[in-house]
Amino acid sequence: MSVSRFQYERWTPAGLRTVWTAAVVLAALAAAPIVLPATAVEKLTTLWIYVLLAVVWNLLAGFAGLVSVGQQAFFGLSAYLTLRLVEWGLNPWLALVGAAFIAGAIAIPISFYALKLKGGEFAIATWVIAEVVRICVMFDPLVQGDTGNSLIALNAYAPDLRREVTYWLGLAAMAGFLVLTFRVLRSKIGSAAQAVRDDEEAALSVGVSVMQTKRIIFVLAAFGTALAGSIWLASAITFLPRTNFGVQWTVFMLFMVLVGGLRTFEGPILGALIFFVLQETFSSYGVWYLFGLGFIAILFALALPDGLWGLIRRKRGGDLLPMGTLLKQQASGQDA
């Protein structure tokens, strides 16, 4: 028996069709602000932020098994750092992107600490770290405790331009992270992360560098969350420590990922879409809407733990994008 009788396939025709469709849709979305009304552009920007948040949290919690309840640390930190950089005289657009990179870099030292913890301890420690970051940020006179601050520097730009650049920034960040996450998941790192999630000791025994794998995923997820935080600041303008560092962001990520489909690539995108629609339709109901979100998340955990995408996948018999490697026996087999 030799391996050469098998053909490796990493792409399926259906997968390629999905990629081309996605490319066309993204191109259309990039051109959309030209024709869409202002409110639609603003709302879609929010949607890109949701998709970005859901995709990176699924990467972290779903694929790598690192259930963080403290991703708001990076979401809020990036917004705060933007204000700080602008205060020091940087162009606000550069500050938004630069702050996300700095927040992502801050995740590296945090990872050396947090990644040694597991399960519930990791969850709470990340939460406590987010609280520590928030309390420290609130000491900055620029933030003035609970008062917060605003990115008024963006007001120097015409409202239309500001709205459209924020939209493109959001779309680019989302698309970039979709491609990045897809490539990471199909790479050795993706397989390693899932192996570590399922059994750390077994992964270690077959030569997976556990810490490095976790660190790459953790920092990547932090960077994505930080980017989302920057774009949120660009569209909301105001920075309130208790809102931007609020644990409700993690509740939203959890909802989108659980409803869409934990550990699937397509699920979080679907979950973010559903969350966006629910938010638009029911958020005026206030607390009972939030009550419902928690309730639905629990129902999914109970009845449909792999989410709606898990259900769709079973119905249609596969994902839209190939995540693994297909082995096919060669048609021109030399001998039986």
Binding site: A61, G65, V67, V69, Y113, K116, L117, G119, G120, E121, A123, I124, A125, W127, V128, I129, E131, V132, I135, C136, M138, F139, G145, V247, T250, V251, L254, F255, L258, L262, V287, W288, L290, F291, L293, G294, F295, A297, I298, A301, L302, P305
Partner: protein
């Protein structure tokens, strides 16, 4: 300074009641209940409701809530947590987190966002104090809560040491499968444990509502404090929750003495430092192990 330390020690009594339930549940069911603080706050609201609307004496309101919340805990484990436990640690963690959101917003929806307290219903106990030398005054209520914490921990210790249920709980904590092989119905033990944890949450919630104000979103912070007490004291150690609670309480009240914002920060830093110290390879237990290592023995 001494004043702040005394306040901190007494605050630790309250943390111990909340943390003991969390720790017990973590040991037996092996998942962290992220809604533990919210369940305590829910119990506090129900006690306040019984006292304020039905004019029940506080003691009776608490006694009435004990079986109610115990039953709720039993049901939560039977119909919710147990079903999500099959798929590893991820789903129960997410489920309890979702449950927290449900409880917080449910409380808000039913009782509004106003801050509530039992302080108005306990007469002068809310501010009565003993005068000690050196101009130190010690509030009577914190002392009573601390004494209650010790009574609760002693009762739990007796339960764990001398009853059949307690032995089964300890066996399930150490090795669930081996316990089942010895004829223990681990799932029943887990349901009983969550029920006990919820009974403790009623006491913690009532203590919290007597000594301070609560609002629907008080729960998550209380959960963090409880978990910090558990980790500082050493996971799996009953009396460690009291030791951890006291250390946390002292750190917080010393921080608050410098600036109100430092109340939480000092506690968080002590927690992160203890975790760090533990990761440095000092053993699997926190303070409990540290004390043991001082005595010369290892865990």
């Amino acid at each position: 300074m001494l004043d702040a330390i005394i306040q901190g020690v007494l605050l630790g009594g309250y943390y111990a009641i909340l943390a003991a339930g969390l720790s017990l549940m973590l040991g037996v069911t092996r998942f962290l209940n992220l809604a533990h603080g919210d369940l305590a706050v829910l119990a506090a609201y129900l006690v306040i409701y019984l006292v304020a609307t039905w004019h029940l004496p506080i003691v009776w309101a608490i006694v009435l809530m004990l079986p109610v919340m115990g039953l709720l805990g039993w049901a939560l484990q039977a119909f919710l947590f147990a079903r999500t436990m099959k798929g590893g640690f991820l789903l129960p963690l997410l489920t309890t987190f979702g449950l927290g959101a449900v409880i917080q917003n449910g409380i808000y929806g039913v009782f509004s966002s106003d801050v509530k307290s039992l302080g108005n219903f306990i007469g002068n106990l809310a501010w009565a104090s003993w005068k000690l030398p050196f101009h130190i005054s010690v509030g009577k209520l914190p002392v009573y809560i601390f004494v209650a914490a010790v009574v609760v921990l002693v009762s739990l210790q007796l339960l764990l040491s001398f009853t059949k249920l307690g032995r089964a709980m300890r066996a399930t904590t150490i090795d669930e499968e081996a316990a089942e092989l010895s004829g223990i119905d681990a799932r029943r033990i887990q349901r009983a444990t969550v029920a006990i944890a919820m009974v403790l949450a009623v006491l913690a919630g009532a203590a919290l509502a007597m000594r301070s104000l609560v609002n629907p979103y008080t729960g998550p912070t209380q959960l963090i404090f409880a978990f910090e007490a558990v980790v500082i004291g050493g996971i799996g150690s009953l009396w460690g929750t009291l030791a951890g609670g006291i250390v946390l309480g002292i750190a917080q009240s010393l921080g608050a003495k410098i600036s109100p914002q430092l109340f939480q920060l000092f506690g968080h830093i002590v927690f992160l430092a203890v975790l760090w110290w533990r990761l440095k390879g000092a053993g699997s237990l926190g303070l409990a192990n540290f004390l043991r290592s001082l005595k010369g023995g290892r865990a």
